[in-house]
């Protein structure tokens, strides 16, 4: 069995008339990084909520189909049980803050307290993950006195510290400076190598191209395609779904630099260079 199995998932928020998730079916293997792309309002964040169990436990509305994560049928288990295995980094870091803790340190400790870890292990993890995100120096600050990017780093650290089996990241670097953003993606790569499964929603297609094993293209709640970054970004109809490929793929298309005997274009600078040199 795959670590994530989605079967005919349908969902509509209360009071809406149209389905926001319309018959999605896919599975994700352990240690895989699945990228999710799509235009604004395609349903990306909603899908994240459904994978993490916030739908249907927190957001009511019409729900159909089945989501199984790590052997748990999401609909049949309490949120408290689900969060032990599935971590979700919200698109707005503000939503991640408990609002009840006076320091960044306590904020990260909050999630860990429910895991029943001993003091020493808790301290070790808090220090490790705050340092990983380069915010250990802010540990005594009030979480609400941070800059936007600093808060986003704390939000990521607090979820990573739980060391979940499945990690869902909804535009995790939207407020990070370019190098901070690159560092987060490198961390993601290391985590998948250690067997963590990652779902990554991103508008930065360069990062999806480099770090995602496969990409799910969503449009108006429907699953348009689930394929390798090369296949997705080489689609001639991509723009019609409100998605633009990485800059290097655009340039490859304009110059007709493609893989030999195929319709596929390179999606990373390295691949582009190799193909240019081979010409």
């Amino acid at each position: 069995m795959s670590i994530i199995e989605v079967e005919n998932l349908k969902y509509r928020y209360p009071d809406l008339t149209d389905l926001v998730l319309d018959d999605l079916s896919f599975s994700v293997e352990k240690g895989e990084c699945l990228g999710i792309v799509g235009e604004n309002t395609a349903g990306k964040s909603t899908l994240c909520y459904a994978l993490a169990g916030l739908i249907p436990h927190f957001y009511k509305g019409a729900y159909g189909g089945k989501v199984t994560v790590n052997g748990l049928v999401v609909r049949e288990h309490e949120i408290a049980e689900i969060v032990e295995n599935i971590g979700l980094v919200f698109e707005n870091p503000f939503s991640q803050m408990t609002g009840a803790k006076k320091t960044v340190y306590e904020e990260v400790a909050f999630g860990l307290e429910n895991l029943g870890l001993d003091r020493k292990e808790m301290h070790r993890r808090i220090e490790q993950y705050l340092k990983l995100l380069d915010v250990f120096g802010l540990k005594d600050k009030n979480p609400f006195d941070l800059s936007g990017g600093q808060m986003q780093r704390v939000a990521i650290a607090s979820v990573l510290a739980m060391e979940p089996d499945v990690l869902i990241l909804d535009e995790p670097t939207s407020q990070l400076d370019p190098q901070g953003s690159r560092e987060v993606f490198e961390v993601i790569e290391q985590l998948t190598e250690k067997g963590m499964t990652i779902i990554l929603v991103e508008h930065k297609m360069e990062q999806i191209a480099q770090y995602a094993d496969r990409v799910l293209l969503l449009h108006q709640g429907r699953q348009v395609a689930l394929d390798t970054p090369e296949k997705i970004f080489s689609r001639p109809d991509l723009k019609g779904f409100g998605v633009t490929p990485p800059v290097v793929t655009n340039i490859s298309k304009a110059l007709n630099v493609r893989y030999p005997d195929s319709e596929l274009f390179p999606v990373t600078i390295e691949a582009f260079k190799r193909l240019e040199e081979a010409k």
């Binding site: 235009e39 604004n40 698109e91 407020q175 400076d177 304009a254």
Partner: protein
């Protein structure tokens, strides 16, 4: 408004950490992007300009006149700020009411305010959402609602704090068009960004802030050619520039079309 200047400005949230210490910076009719690492002081700078924070030293001047005596209410007619986090700005439960709030607050009549609000919502393509609750919308839509609320106030200067955050291609194109329109109308436009490609494409001038200091300031193309300085400030060059360098070209390209034209010629 022709210029907004900061002279010898100092500010700190707490005595132990100085965010600005003698900052000099001025803005004019050139569309300007501010880039810099997380925590550099970008949001703090624009909150000072909007009068939400008070400097401990120095002067802020509009067209050469100090704004120290202007009340927050007076200043809000002149300087509009779209917050980094839309949740800090939105508090009504109806989109139209939300966008009308600012205009009403600066003294427009209800009918004027409604007209301004509808026009602003049209600019961000969200006129169909007038009756919705902003909290039932996706974050990217909420961000555009917050932007429309400021546009509706028709201020002489518009400041955007990370407007492209969470936006797709179409959203970014809308924002680009809005910036150009504001500039054509003669307004001052200032934008904080983490998206180097967007900064390179849409702004005449780029300012790099690092730990409360300005370490680069000039024409966008020149600023983005300074790889080492940018990296020191935790930034990167735009992807187009990176691609050109990876291919061994030293010219500094900042637009996709430029690089394509150049590569075609050299092919």
């Amino acid at each position: 408004m022709n210029t907004f200047e900061l002279k010898d400005v100092a500010f700190s949230y707490s005595p132990d950490i100085q965010i600005f210490d003698g900052l000099d910076l001025s803005f004019d009719s050139r569309t300007t992007a501010i880039v810099g690492q997380n925590g550099a002081g970008k949001t703090t700078l624009v909150k000072l300009m909007k009068g939400l924070l008070k400097p401990s030293k120095g002067t802020l001047l509009i067209d050469g006149e100090s704004i120290a005596k202007e009340t927050a209410a007076q200043l809000s007619r002149r300087v509009g700020l779209v917050f980094q986090n839309p949740n800090d700005q939105i508090f009504k439960t109806n989109v139209l009411e939300e966008v009308m709030f600012g205009p009403l607050n600066i003294g427009m009549s209800r009918s004027e305010a409604e007209k301004a609000a509808r026009e602003a919502l049209q600019k961000v393509d969200l006129e169909s959402k007038v009756d919705d609750n902003p909290y039932d919308l996706s974050l990217s839509e909420r961000k555009l609602i917050a932007l429309a609320s400021i546009l509706a106030m028709d201020t002489e200067m518009v400041i955007f704090d990370e407007p492209t955050m969470g936006q797709d291609f179409a959203g970014k194109e809308k924002i680009k068009a809005i910036i150009e329109e504001l500039n054509t109308e003669g307004k001052l436009v200032l934008c904080i960004l983490h998206d180097m490609d967007f900064a390179a494409e849409a702004f005449e001038r780029t300012v790099v802030m690092n730990q409360g200091e300005i370490i680069l300031d000039g024409q966008t193309r020149d600023v983005f050619s300074k790889k080492e300085v940018l990296e020191k400030a935790y930034l990167e060059q735009p992807y187009v520039t990176q691609i050109a360098h990876a291919l061994g070209y030293n010219e500094s390209f900042i637009h996709e079309s430029e690089l394509i034209a150049f590569l075609n010629k050299n092919a």
